[in-house]
């Protein structure tokens, strides 16, 4: 899944780059944005930078950011937008991509048996965000974009128990036997509402 997504991004990026020189009417956009995210686990924040090309009412781009909701992650996503009408004030957007885990502390504090750390591996997952928004023009090229959307972030954890294979005190009791230890997997699905404010630089 991760590899397919990365390949898709590379393709899109190359494709857009190739197109830039051919289509004269196409312009580009770049906008940093900050988001307030709210879900059943609380409220958090997100910062992103998205940019790409504009053709008529369509925006096609790529984005990346940092998502602090529950498990910190770095979403890397495609950004597609459609601005309605001639004034292009109201718009809708869709982000689809991949969340890369960026969790700092992987220690499991519950286990005090030496050594105290047990291997915990975070796994990456899908990132989606769809929503609608409104554009407020500021000056000739810049604008403020406010949007609200529904975002899903999927991540996971794999807990690898430290082998407790005792060659001194052998036992077939599962929690002691290394052969019996099992990986414990947690797949999290975080569903959030997000409110974003973006400033379009150009």
């Amino acid at each position: 899944m991760k590899n397919i997504f990365i390949a898709a991004i590379c393709f899109l990026s190359t494709h857009l780059q190739a197109q830039t020189g051919k289509i004269k009417k196409m312009t580009s956009y770049l906008m940093p944005q900050i988001a307030l995210i709210d879900g059943s686990s609380g409220t958090s924040t997100q910062i992103q930078l998205a940019g790409g090309l504009v053709k008529n009412n369509w925006h096609f781009g790529l984005g990346a950011g940092i998502d602090y909701y529950e498990m910190r992650s770095v979403p890397l996503f495609t950004d597609v937008r459609y601005h309605f009408g001639k004034e292009q004030k109201v718009f809708t957007y869709a982000n689809v991509g991949y969340n890369f885990s960026w969790v700092q502390d992987t220690r499991d504090p519950r286990f005090i048996l030496p050594p105290s750390s047990n291997a915990v591996k975070q796994t990456d997952g899908l990132y989606t965000d769809i929503g609608i928004g409104y554009t407020i023009k500021i000056g000739k090229r810049n604008s403020l974009l406010m949007s609200t959307g529904f975002s899903v972030k999927q991540m996971g954890e794999e807990y690898h128990p430290l082998p407790f294979s005792s060659w001194v005190w052998p036992s077939s009791t599962p929690w002691i036997s290394s052969e019996s230890t099992t990986v414990r997997k947690f797949d999290y699905t975080f569903k959030r509402v997000c409110f974003k404010v973006a400033y379009r630089l150009w």
Binding site: I34, D38, G39, S40, S41, G42, T43, S44, T45, I47, Y68, E70, M71, R72, K89, V90, D105, T106, D108, P109, R110, L113, P114, P115, Q122, G133, Y134, M146, S147, T148, G149, E157, P163, F164, S165, S166, W167, V168, W169, P170, S171, S172, T173, P174, W175, I176, S177, E179, S180, T182, R184, F186, D187, Y188, T189, F190, K191, R192, V193, F195
Partner: protein, 418 residues
């Protein structure tokens, strides 16, 4: 108009609480299968050789290797031809992790009991005696063995469950701060095996030891004494509380008992065989530490970085000329040492994934490395007359070190792959 749009954008926040974060958890648990003790006893008998599943302690008697399969029983392996070892029989002893051999009798733990088995004919063994409840320290996690039932095996059950996610119930810790906080939630073929042991020799991780018609066993914090003058009917004599806890191994040598614990090595005198008494103690950082000894020195491997605790990985050579005051002579760094065995001036050490290391210890203050036999991860070894039998999780290895510099693996018995 603009304000109206902006207010509309905030509307979805009113339904945010309706959305629930979820977790899908996949894990396995183990369900015990119980037997009565009578069923267990009835099950102790010869069986055709079976695959080795989890190799544990080893004892060499004559040209037979007795290999414990943890909690299952004892394999009897004929190593008369070390290049072609043969499993000849299996004695099913549920709950067996430790054993000793006295003449034609095998003493083995069977959960909390001690069973005596006549092994004069390894193909036709007979149970001679049961001593009930002499090893109360044997436990199975939250289940204690003195209920009249024992756990015969565990069945693995794979499970996936889904449930609402909440920060508080999450199993693992990670930072959850935002930009700002808004809320917190071998090649050699030997025609015959010269390394036979007329008197049984156990590996250095043994927890049963024989001396002067006594069998000494160690639990986590005590020493038990059994009188084996009547070899087919051991009698429980006494329990001696030890000066240290977390006892791991016992190595009887001459009139003394060298007891390895996670915190050090203790030397007990067995002058009074029924009431061993402390002579001296050598303490070290916490680690696993099998010990072997000769007349003047004790060789202690410290293994850290695992369940043993500590982080030291070394060989400590302890001067025991004065048993009342053992002194560290020298320390040699190792990778992850476990069991060891000494044969003359050759010391063999199981050193983790490095394999089996051979050292010349003619001069204990200047130990020299001879050779490493690599390619396996042994945890215990018996060395005798130029042959070594090393136990690893993936096999039992027979090594010819008659010429230590040319030591090599000459035979292997496979272990069942998980």
């Amino acid at each position: 108009m603009q304000t109206k749009y902006l207010l509309l954008l905030l509307l979805p926040f009113t339904v945010a609480s309706c959305m629930k974060d979820t977790v899908k958890e996949s894990y396995s648990f183990f369900r015990p299968v119980y037997q009565t003790k009578d069923q267990v006893k009835a099950g102790i008998k010869n069986a055709p050789s079976v695959e080795i599943e989890k190799p544990g302690k080893i004892i060499l008697k004559d040209h037979y290797l007795f290999l414990n399969d943890v909690d299952k029983g004892v394999h009897i392996i004929d190593i008369a031809d070390p290049a072609n070892p043969k499993k000849i029989s299996f004695i099913s002893i549920p709950g067996c992790v430790d054993m000793a051999i006295n003449g034609n009798y095998l003493y083995a733990d069977c959960y909390t009991d001690l069973v005596t088995i006549d092994i004069a004919n390894p193909l036709q063994v007979t149970v001679k005696q049961f001593l009930n409840g002499v090893f109360p320290h044997r436990y199975y996690g939250a289940f204690f063995a003195d209920t009249g039932l024992v756990i015969q095996k565990w069945i693995r059950v794979d499970t996936t469950i889904s449930y609402p996610y909440s920060s508080g119930s999450r199993n693992y810790f990670f930072e959850r701060t935002g930009l700002f906080t808004l809320s917190s939630r071998g090649g050699f073929s030997a025609s015959s095996f010269s390394g036979t042991a007329s008197v049984a020799i156990a590996g250095s991780t043994a927890r049963f030891g024989l001396q002067q018609n006594r069998m000494y066993t160690v639990s986590h914090d005590d020493l038990k004494v059994f009188n084996i003058a009547k070899a087919d009917a051991p009698a429980y004599v006494n329990k001696v509380d030890l000066i240290q806890g977390n006892i791991e191994t016992i190595f009887p040598y001459k009139n003394n008992l060298f007891i390895g614990a996670q915190g050090g090595m203790s030397i007990y005198s067995a002058s009074n065989p029924d009431q061993p008494s402390l002579l001296g103690q050598f303490t070290h950082v916490r680690s696993c530490d099998p010990v072997v000894a000769d007349d003047t020195h004790a060789y202690v491997t410290l293994s850290g970085g695992s369940f043993c605790g500590g982080f030291s990985n070394q060989l400590d050579i302890v001067d025991i000329k004065n048993l009342f005051s053992p002194k560290l002579l020298k320390t040699y760094p190792l990778k992850s040492p476990k069991g060891l065995s000494k044969d003359g001036n050759t010391l063999l050490i199981c050193d983790g994934t490095d394999g089996l290391k051979l050292f010349n210890v003619a001069d204990p203050s200047n130990v020299t490395h001879i050779k490493t036999v690599s390619g396996f991860d042994p945890h215990d070894v018996i060395a005798i007359q130029g042959y070594a039998i090393a136990v690893a999780s993936d096999g039992i290895f027979l090594i010819d070190y008659r010429q230590p510099i040319n030591a090599e693996i000459i035979g292997k018995i496979e272990v069942k792959k998980n």
